[in-house]
Point group: C2
Chain length 187, copies 2
């Protein structure tokens, strides 16, 4: 498992993927960033698709851990829900980057099947977490928590999209505030 180089490759690939997508990911630039030669990446990952799968898997694993940690840090479900947009804000802060989930939608037609599956796991985790928190916070009736979770997730992804294409984090904040004012997110 995780040697130092392997971890460095994974981290650099994640950063690159969140800036340029899977298609924009390339072994030469990646190698320069890690400080090794491009061919050496093949020692750790047999193909680009495998690297993509590994990046996406690590991505949702980290997200799952972060969401769990947030629930521990902020046990009140309503307060926790209020903090949820922070997750998507962070990648904008880190160099105007995007959620891999949004890249998957854009690159849907050209993405290896296995990569798609891992990225969808990211979405599933978010939806499950949101559904759970919405239900315990009782902001919607129990039977509506799933559909509200999906609406919130989609809307927040959209807000991140808009903010990126204007390179303006304050737009993200304004959109989230707009969702609260409109009633999509609890005020």
């Amino acid at each position: 498992m995780g040697s130092a180089s392997r971890e460095a490759i994974l981290a650099a690939a994640k950063r690159a993927a969140q800036a340029h997508g899977y298609g924009g990911l390339n072994f030469r630039d990646l190698a320069v960033e890690v400080g090794i030669k491009a061919a050496s990446i093949y020692y750790h990952f047999p193909s680009k698709a495998d690297l993509g799968v590994a990046v996406a898997r690590r991505y949702w694993e980290d997200t799952a851990a972060d969401l769990d940690a947030m629930l521990v840090e902020t046990p009140d479900p309503a307060a926790c829900l209020r903090r949820y947009p922070e997750m998507f804000r962070r990648s904008l802060e880190a160099g105007n980057r995007l959620c891999l989930c949004s890249f998957m939608a854009a690159e849907y037609a050209d993405l290896p099947e296995a990569v798609k599956r891992e990225v969808q796991a990211f979405a599933d985790i978010n939806l499950a977490w949101l559904g759970k928190v919405l239900a315990t916070a009782a902001v919607v009736q129990a039977e509506d928590s799933k559909s509200r979770a999906a609406a919130i997730f989609a809307a927040i992804a959209g807000a991140q999209l808009m903010a990126r294409s204007r390179a303006d984090i304050s737009l993200y904040d304004a959109l989230i505030e707009g969702y609260r004012a409109a009633g999509l997110l609890p005020a």
Copy 2:
């Protein structure tokens, strides 16, 4: 202006861009689809960036016309607003394609500046139209119509994103319905 070949290239490029993005657009495949040789495209467009600009410009011009037509067809602003999600639904219907605006967000770091400008014009037109219709429909107070327009636009783009990455139009419909239930869109 618009010779037959030029129009055919423009139409094929639009379709390709909505499926694969600007980066996924390539002259060889495009030429095959149009039925000419790749080099011949350069007679009509001096560079890929110029083609991208032309596609994006045509895209927002068509959208502006469609939005205007919708207001003529459905003069009642509330009814018109209800029909707005149809616009984004159509590209999903047409081969699970995406709005160019979402592609711009994904390809933000690698897109020629001139292309970005044209795609942003698409967003601006949508925002202006939504703002106007929201104000006349009086679904929000006049001073909130701009921020609500932005919230709706972002959320609908997000819904399109989610539906594409699941290749499931019914998910789009469900998300729009979710926005109505939550109060983001008028019920």
